[in-house]
Amino acid sequence: MDALTPDDLYEERNGVSYARPILQGDVFEDVIVPGLGDTPLTVQVVMHPCSMRRGVQLVQRIQVAPVGAYEKVGDWDRHLRVMPLPDLREDGKHYAAQFLDTTAVPASSLTLENRIASLSRQGILVLQQRIVKDHARLDLPLNLFLEQSAPVLTEAEMQESWVEAALGVATALNAADVEVAATDFQNWLDEEEGRRRKALESDLNHADLRREVRTAASERRAQMSR
């Protein structure tokens, strides 16, 4: 299995841009996990991104794995039952998500405010690789996961670009505005009888769509400011 350094594993730590949609691999603090006591826990989303949403809304319950302190993982081929999260809080301490305790939590408990880390695309693929190996004892190369997940990961990246272009600098965003912009993006994908959503299904169209997103979002922003 593939190993990653913290810099390559995480997209962001100590807070995540509100513009980024909630995705597989995101880490949340202060989540009450049914069946694991009343103390709020840190959890990592393990649900596949293709299954997490209906439109812009998350499905009611999201699969997560609790995150706890863990040893420093040197050999990522071992430690099959966890997703290593080295230096998660940038304090030199190491953590891991425990697949054994995977369960579902209400989507409402996973908020942009309590999201503390997100994974890079490579990180998400490594998480998928480890989940499959843990659940099915099947060891597959990352490029298969990349090919399988390319449309949904591209859509997520496009949504983030849209929100940033529509609302401006990511650091000053609030959750309500982000949701409005994200809905606007999803509606834009569905315009023209879903032409863009269909185009997302082929990797050959992704570069085109990325270009279109930035232009369209900037135009919407200009219209709104008039």
Partner: protein, 212 residues
């Protein structure tokens, strides 16, 4: 690769084995001449190939320097992503930095001159590819190379491993992808997958054993 000097020497010695030119008939003489000519052409081809590679590298360096000098990091990132349509992850991989570093640059963080040059080099390569008749260079970088089933290598993978010039060879159709990979990434044939990604009955991409 055999050096020009070694090959010239070897060729110069070879005809001495033939005892006496005077006793050779006309056909034999033509054959010897053709052999010499062929060797000269082979040497010339290799020399021109090497020269072309060196000049391409210099051209790419010049273009990268010009890009990195005339534009700041935000402008370079905008060119690569908004104008060209590259993904953030591919930009990070191609620049040899983490995605978190790219995100910091997007938010105004400082980048080193080396990193700026790396971004300039990607932008320069996309320009060169466009001039080589690749209509959508960023898209082309994401496409799977035409290889036998079971192999998934994209142009961006070649670039990340330091083979920008080899990529241009493929784009210009001077060599097929397999020949380029044999030179640039020996051992690539060891990574054939027995699995493939297909669209299932519900329209979802799934991974399954190849040929099922």
């Amino acid at each position: 690769m055999t050096s020009t000097l070694e090959r010239t020497t070897a060729t110069a010695v070879a005809p001495a084995v033939t005892a006496d030119y005077a006793e050779t008939n006309a056909t034999r003489a033509i054959s010897i001449s053709a052999s010499w000519l062929r060797t000269d052409v082979d040497i010339l081809r290799d020399d021109v190939h090497a020269l072309h590679e060196r000049t391409r590298t210099l051209d790419l360096d010049d273009r990268a320097h010009a890009k990195a000098t005339s534009a700041g990091v935000p402008e370079l990132l905008a060119e690569l992503t908004s104008s060209r349509g590259m993904s953030w992850s591919d930009v990070a991989a191609a620049a040899g930095v983490s995605v978190s570093a790219i995100r910091k640059w997007r938010n105004g963080g400082a980048a080193s001159a080396e990193n700026r040059n790396s971004l300039g080099r990607i932008a320069a390569l996309l320009d060169v590819l466009e001039e080589s008749a690749v209509a959508e260079p960023a898209q082309w970088m994401e496409m799977k190379l035409p290889l036998p089933s079971g192999y998934t290598i994209r142009p961006i993978d070649l670039y990340v491993t330091g083979h920008a010039e080899a990529l241009i060879d493929i784009a210009e159709q001077r060599q097929d992808a397999e020949s380029v990979l044999d030179q640039a990434m020996p051992g690539w044939r060891d990574h054939r997958s027995d699995y493939e990604v297909v669209v299932d009955a519900e329209g979802e991409r799934i991974i399954r054993p190849r040929g099922k």
